[in-house]
């Protein structure tokens, strides 16, 4: 077992496109690290550089303290699970699992032991004599996992392994991957564009955008203290409400004047929908600010609803989470409030976080 260490890793393609712009990252032994970001942010490229499938333009990658820049993928002691599984279609499941071991000249009784063990863990023993074409998507996914497990590598690399599955199976496999990784304790690097998947899987979350790391930290850290506007809107669904402060904004808000006075022009405040409430007869608390919205729609997601509205002359879109189901016709005026402690502040220009919520 081993950690993975990236130092100022860059990738520049032949055409001059810089896909990865100097990424440094320390993946601790046994941790499950998820790289998340929109498509084209360089997360897959980064993973493939760790795997040895893409060359490294500059910087170093070390696995288990050993620099692997010049090593073939097979020599890096990693195993990879691909988005389309990449199972060998003409081989049985058993042969698929064995292939990498045979090529490494591992004794056959050891191969049999490992394959049977992996098959038992993944509950694919009855499928061992079938070919990939005879398996369902979820079963193929398990076989792909099995191929990684039997190798007993220093690290697992996952390249969007769940995106070819339907929504229900995806949730189930997500949980299985997580518990499997806990059980084996193998260092894992996992790429996805799905922030929910990232949040639920990761020990450590790394948010990437345009080839660099926006923020790295535990999922809760990132959720509660997003370092940039990008992270604030990318993590969380529905996205965090943003309100750029303009000269007249403060006067359009209601509530605590101390809080309103602290809103300086050129900053943007962010409030998560669940930190907002609809103001009823009870009125606004002392440490709250409130905004008058015009309802544009209501979305029922089960135990709760999201009420969407626009605010003021800026027409800023605001979502408010309310428990249960509340109905409003479009155009209804409502008032929503949020406590001062739940405000996030960002510099509108640089996008950087300014301070912690008071």
């Amino acid at each position: 077992m081993a950690g993975i260490e990236l130092k100022d890793v860059r990738k520049v393609y032949a055409g001059g496109v810089e896909a990865v712009k100097g990424v440094s990252l320390d993946v601790q032994d046994g941790h499950f690290v998820v790289l998340v970001g929109p498509s084209g942010c360089g997360k897959s490229t980064l993973l493939r550089m760790v795997a040895g499938l893409e060359s490294i333009t500059s910087g170093t990658i070390a696995i288990g303290g050993r620099t692997v820049n010049e090593l073939e993928p097979a020599e890096r002691d990693i195993a990879m699970v691909f988005q389309n599984y990449a199972l060998y279609p003409h081989m049985t499941v058993r042969r698929n699992l064995e292939y990498g071991l045979r090529n490494r000249r591992i004794p056959s009784d050891e191969i049999t032991r490992r394959v049977n063990e992996a098959a038992a863990i993944l509950e694919i023993a009855p499928l061992l004599d079938r070919k990939p074409g005879q398996l369902s998507g979820g079963q193929r996914q398990r076989v792909a996992m099995g191929r990684a497990i039997v190798r007993e590598p220093a690290a697992f690399l996952f390249d969007e392994p769940l995106s070819n599955l339907d929504a229900k199976l995806r949730v189930q496999m997500r949980a299985e991957i997580r518990s499997l990784q806990r059980r084996l304790g193998t260092t894992s690097l996992y790429v996805t564009h799905d922030q929910l998947e990232a949040m639920t899987l990761a020990d450590q979350l790394v948010v990437l955008s345009a080839g660099h790391i926006e923020q790295a930290g535990s999922p809760m850290e990132i959720y509660e203290r997003p370092a940039t506007l990008f992270v604030a809107t990318f993590i969380g669904s529905p996205a965090m409400n943003l309100l750029p402060i303009e000269p007249e904004t403060a006067s359009q808000l209601a509530g605590s004047s101390a809080v309103r006075d602290s809103l300086s022009v050129g900053t943007t405040i962010g409030i998560r929908p669940e930190h907002m409430r609809l103001v009823g007869d009870e009125g606004i608390q002392d440490d709250e600010i409130a905004a008058d919205l015009v309802v544009t729609g209501v979305e029922l997601v089960g135990a709760e609803s999201y009420v969407y509205g626009v605010f003021g002359a800026q027409k800023a879109e605001i979502a408010v989470r309310v428990p249960g189901y509340r109905h409003f016709d479009g155009g209804t005026p409502i008032r929503a409030a949020a406590g001062a402690t739940s405000l996030h502040r960002f510099d509108s220009k640089t996008g950087l976080r300014l301070d912690s919520p008071v």
Partner: protein, 282 residues
């Protein structure tokens, strides 16, 4: 369900039966002739049912020598032709699959130059460069050799293009998975690419076997020695209308024996053949 005129389907069957008669009759006619005595053959009209000389004629052609073509038996001719057809088919498949492998699965300087170098040969059949090619064969001392029969015919791009097209449909992740599974290029070729190419190889094999078996101009030029003749060439050499000694019964037997092996290959491997045919022309 679309309406059909009541006569439509029987008419279609009738048409197809006429078609098959047109297609099969010349072969049947020759088969009938191959079971007659030479006297019957020379006195038209030929009976429409097989005669009594099947065993005699086929025995004589296969096991006795045929005087007109230097006393060589049809067995030798069949052997030569089989060697040539197999040589062309296997040779072309082997060199093509290797070069397509190189072009698709590697990046190296001059890759596209090599691709075009091979691709241009798609356009020119051996028939149009026959004389200079013949000279090359003489210079290399390949006249009357199997190598001489086979080699010039395997210099063509069709098979390479077919394999290239197929290889490009193989997902790149399979290559990457193999690299992570410690399979080098040649192991990948043997363990993954070859098994996946099985049906393509079978399809090409049928087409190229027929191509090799039915060659005419080239074997005519590079074989002087009767022992090296292919069956098609020998058949042509046996036929002479000016000459009263033409052993017509043996000519008919030889014609049938020249037809049967490739027809069997096509019919037995029909599934691959039809696929291969339609795909090589894409």
């Amino acid at each position: 369900m679309i309406e059909r005129s009541p006569l439509g389907r029987p008419l279609a069957h009738l048409l197809l039966i006429v078609g098959i008669l047109i297609v099969a009759f010349p072969i049947y006619y020759t088969f009938t002739a191959s079971t007659q005595t030479i006297q019957t053959i020379l006195r038209p009209p030929l009976p429409l049912t097989p005669g009594s000389e099947f065993a005699n004629n086929y025995g004589e052609a296969l096991f006795g020598g045929i005087g007109r073509i230097g006393g060589v038996g049809v067995g030798t001719l069949l052997f030569n032709t089989t060697v040539m057809a197999l040589g062309v088919a296997c040779g072309k498949i082997a060199i093509s699959i290797l070069s397509a492998f190189a072009i698709v699965f590697f990046r190296f300087p001059l890759r596209m130059v090599f691709f075009w170098l091979i691709f241009i040969t798609l356009m020119l059949p051996v028939e149009v460069r026959i004389l200079p090619t013949y000279k090359v064969m003489v210079d290399l001392g390949l006249i009357d050799t199997y190598a001489g029969l086979i080699l010039p015919l395997i210099a063509s791009a069709t098979a390479t293009l077919l394999f290239r097209q197929f290889f490009m449909t193989i997902p790149g992740e399979l290559v990457e998975a193999a690299r992570i599974d410690a399979a080098g290029p040649m192991r990948f070729f043997r363990d993954i690419l070859l098994p996946l190419s099985k049906t393509n190889i079978a399809a090409l094999f049928v087409i190229l076997f027929i191509y090799g078996w039915t060659q005419y101009l080239w074997p005519l030029l590079v074989t002087n020695n009767n022992q090296m003749n292919t069956i098609v060439i020998a058949l042509k050499k046996m036929v002479s209308f000016a000459d009263a000694d033409t052993p017509w019964h043996l000519v008919m037997v030889t014609a049938i024996l020249a037809i049967v092996p490739p027809v069997l290959v096509v019919v037995l491997m029909q599934r691959w053949f039809v696929r291969g045919l339609v795909e090589t022309e894409k």
